[in-house]
Each structure stands twice: as C-alpha cells, then as structure tokens.
C-alpha cells in the first residue's frame, strides 16, 4: 500500500509535483497517464527515493519515507524505460546480485528462485547471455525479473515500453499483464492506452504536476469528463 500526502517537488524554479495526494491499496494496479512533462516519471521517482520530495510525506506499507528512510523502499521494485541492466553480469547474474549482496540470501536458493522467474518471463534459455546479446524486449523482461527477484510487494514501471521497437512492445506488456493478475501492487507510467484500459483498476491522469483525475478506466477512456483529458486522448490515439 502506498499513501502520498501533499507531496511537492521542484527542480530549481520549476514545480514538477504540486500538492499530490493519493492512496494505492494492496494489489491494485494503477496506470499513470498524461502529457509529457506532467510529472508522471518524477512521481514514481519520488515514490522510490530516486528524487527527494520537498515537502509532504509518503507512506509505503505504513512506513514514512521521511522517518524510515531507505528501509521504507525495501518492499518496492522499479523498472526503467532504459532497462539499466548491469552489462558486466549475465542475465542470471543480474537477477541474483541484489538478493545475495543486499539481503545476504543463500546463493543456491536465490538461483532457484531466479531461474523460476526467468522461466516466467520466457527467458530460461538466455540465463547465461549478457545483456548486450538481447533484444530490447528481452532486456526489459530481464529487468522485470530482476526487480521481482527481490520479492517486492510493490512494482513501479516507468514507461517500460517507450524505448522499444513497436513489434517488441507486446511481449513486455504480456509479462506486466500476468503480474497484474497476482497480488502485487503496481503503478505503471505508460502511453499504451489500450493496456492502461485493460489492466488498471484505476487510472491517474496527470497534468501540470497534479493528478487531475483519479478514476476507473471506463470513466477516463469511455466518458472522459474534462476537455483536457479528451484532447490528450484524441492526440495520443491519433498517433497510434
């Protein structure tokens, strides 16, 4: 569960998040949509501590990030637009690194779990490959498995398909869709409107650093109430 309370974030003079509050319950899947520059990525980055919030507070599984610090982020994993796999480690090496180094887990145990995860994302045969030998879609699936290897309760996806060739988007979305059926809390920043509509329990529409709409997907996609959302959807759908 994530609770954001009145969070503000500025870069120099530019206010990127302005009084953002919301609650995401255990197991919920949230899509975050909105025009570029509306603060979607910054919101995720603040939630996991890659950016420090200026004011307000965030509670993750009840722990305040202001008070608990790093400990609050332990149950959260993140997938980036640019994958950020470790190029000097094999696929399996990428998965087992953090559980062993950070959690001091038994190597054998972690390997077993990681191999199961690779099977889940359909990449068992690539476990000894290096990231440079993989396609973009395969890299992103490894990145998802790597985050899952830490057994998070919450997964954040920051435009997971935006840097992929169109024909590779599907395989990554399928993996995320399968995860959505499990009891993992997810927040996905995406431009894939079909995906957002199918998968989400709720959709956040962001504009100018605020969540201007927080509602079930039907309400946003079928009967958008504001003109701002309508014009955004028209623009984005005409591109696809």
């Amino acid at each position: 569960m994530i609770e954001a309370k009145n969070i503000y974030k500025s870069f120099a003079e530019l206010e990127v998040l302005s009084d953002v509050s919301f609650t995401v319950n255990q197991g919920e899947v949230i899509s975050v949509i909105g025009p570029s520059g509306s603060g979607k990525s910054t919101l995720l980055r603040c939630l996991i501590g890659l950016e420090e919030i200026d004011s307000g507070d965030i509670y993750i599984e009840g722990l305040s990030v202001k008070k608990a610090g790093r400990k609050a982020y332990q149950k959260m994993g993140m997938v980036f637009q640019g994958f950020n796999l470790f190029p000097h480690k094999t696929v399996l090496g990428n998965l087992i690194e953090a559980p062993i180094v950070v959690n001091d887990e038994d190597k054998k145990e972690v390997k077993k779990r990681s191999e199961a995860l690779l099977e889940k994302v359909g990449l068992s045969d690539k476990k000894d490959a290096y990231p440079s030998q993989l396609s973009g879609g395969q890299k992103q699936r490894v990145a998802i498995a790597r985050a899952l290897a830490m057994q998070p309760d919450i997964m954040l996806f920051d435009e997971p398909t935006s840097s992929l060739d169109p024909e590779l988007v599907g395989e990554v979305l399928t993996v995320i869709r399968d995860l959505a059926d499990e009891n993992i809390t997810m927040m996905v920043v995406t431009h894939e409107m079909g995906f957002a509509q199918d998968v989400s329990d709720r959709v956040f529409f962001m504009d100018h650093g605020k969540i201007v709409s927080d509602s079930v997907p039907e309400k946003i996609f079928v009967n958008p109430e504001s003109e701002r959302i309508q014009s955004f959807l028209t623009k984005i759908l005409s591109q696809n």
Binding site: Y73, M76, F83, P87, H88, A98, V101, S132
Partner: protein
C-alpha cells in the same frame, strides 16, 4: 658470446631494482588512483580542491624534477631519504595522479542509470561502487592503464640519475667499464621484453573483459 652472457648477468642484477620499483609503484599508485578518483567524484569540497591541486602539480611538472625534489630537495628541509624510498615514493605519487584522472574519467563515464538501478535494488554506496560501478570502470580504463604501465617501465630508468643501481645504470656502468656498445643493446632488449610481457598481460585482460558489450 661469453661477454654477452656476463654482461647480461650484470645488467640482470641491476634490473632487480627496476622490478622492485615497478611492482611497488604499480601496486600503490593504482590504489592511490582508486582512492583519488573516489575522492574526486565525492561531494566534499575540501577534498575536491586538494585532489585538483595534487593532480595539477604532479601531472604538470616533470617526473625528473619531482625525483630531484624528493632526493636532493627534501634534505634541505631536513628530510633525508635513501635513493630507493625516494624513487618509490615519487613514482607512486606521480603515477597515482595519472591514475586518479584515468579512473575518475572511467567512473564518470558509467551511465547514471546504473546507480539508479543499484539504488532501487537496495544497494548502498559501497555495494554500488564495488559490485556495479568499479567492475565496469575496469574494462573502460584498461587501454589507458596499459599505456601508463608501459610508460612506467621506461620512466623507471630515470632513477639512474639519483644513483640507484637499476637496469639502465648497470648497462651504463658496463659500457664505461668495457668501452663496448653491447650493454646498451642488451638493456634495450631487456626493456623490450618487459614491455612486451606487460602488453601481453593487458591484452589478455582486455580479452577477458570483452565477453560483454
């Protein structure tokens, strides 16, 4: 032929000093370089300025001057060093300055996404540097480090000027003593052999690291 073997043996004795100096300098200057690079990328202003001054001075003045300073200059200030410690200290500090810059550049060339990935996986600074950043830096700095490693072989000959009995000095003594040019040729062959071995070691290392990217 006997003469060549005799002189080679004599020069080989001198090269013991060269090897000792080489190994000590290589080990400590690389360690100094790693520490210096981590200091340079740190956000401690005083440390940054100190290291900037350090690399500016030691990369900006001749190694020979630094060697004279340590051996002939410091005694004026009341600090007297034997030739070998003076040479080892000067070489370590001098090469440490070059390695500081090489390693700093290498570390800074690693994409910021690597730090972010490590952070969201829960790694702390030490784990991130030792497990993720430095291993990738090693690969990138190998070519530049290889250059320095070969330079060091040749620079080590400078110690002859402070009276240290190294490979070159042994050859020079033999030339003067025997009035023959052969000792110089033998010395050149020795240097070439050492350099080739080092080039070879680095080639193997580069091959080892070429499995990724």
């Amino acid at each position: 032929m006997d003469y060549i073997i005799n002189v080679s043996g004599y020069i080989l004795e001198g090269s013991v000093v060269t090897f000792q100096l080489y190994l000590i300098t290589a080990l400590f200057s690389v360690l100094l370089g790693i520490a210096g690079a981590l200091g340079k990328i740190s956000k401690i202003p005083l440390l940054n300025s100190f290291l900037a001054f350090y690399t500016w001075v030691f990369r900006g003045t001749p190694l020979l001057l630094q060697l004279f300073f340590a051996y002939y200059g410091l005694p004026v200030l009341g600090i007297t060093l034997e030739p070998f410690p003076a040479a080892a200290l000067t070489f370590t500090i001098n090469y440490g300055a070059y390695f500081t810059e090489i390693f700093r550049g290498g570390i800074e060339s690693i994409d910021n996404g690597q730090y972010e990935a490590a952070q969201v996986l829960g790694m702390n600074y030490r784990q991130t540097m030792s497990r993720i950043i430095i291993p990738q830096t090693v690969k990138r700095v190998l070519p530049a480090t290889s250059n320095e490693a070969i330079n060091l072989v040749k620079d080590s000959a400078l110690v002859a000027v402070i009276g240290l009995g190294d490979l070159l000095r042994a050859a020079k003594v033999a030339v003067t003593r025997d009035f023959s040019i052969i000792p110089f040729i033998i010395a050149a062959v020795f240097y070439l052999v050492i350099s080739s071995v080092i080039v070879n070691i680095f080639r193997r290392l580069e091959n080892k690291y070429s499995v990724y990217e």
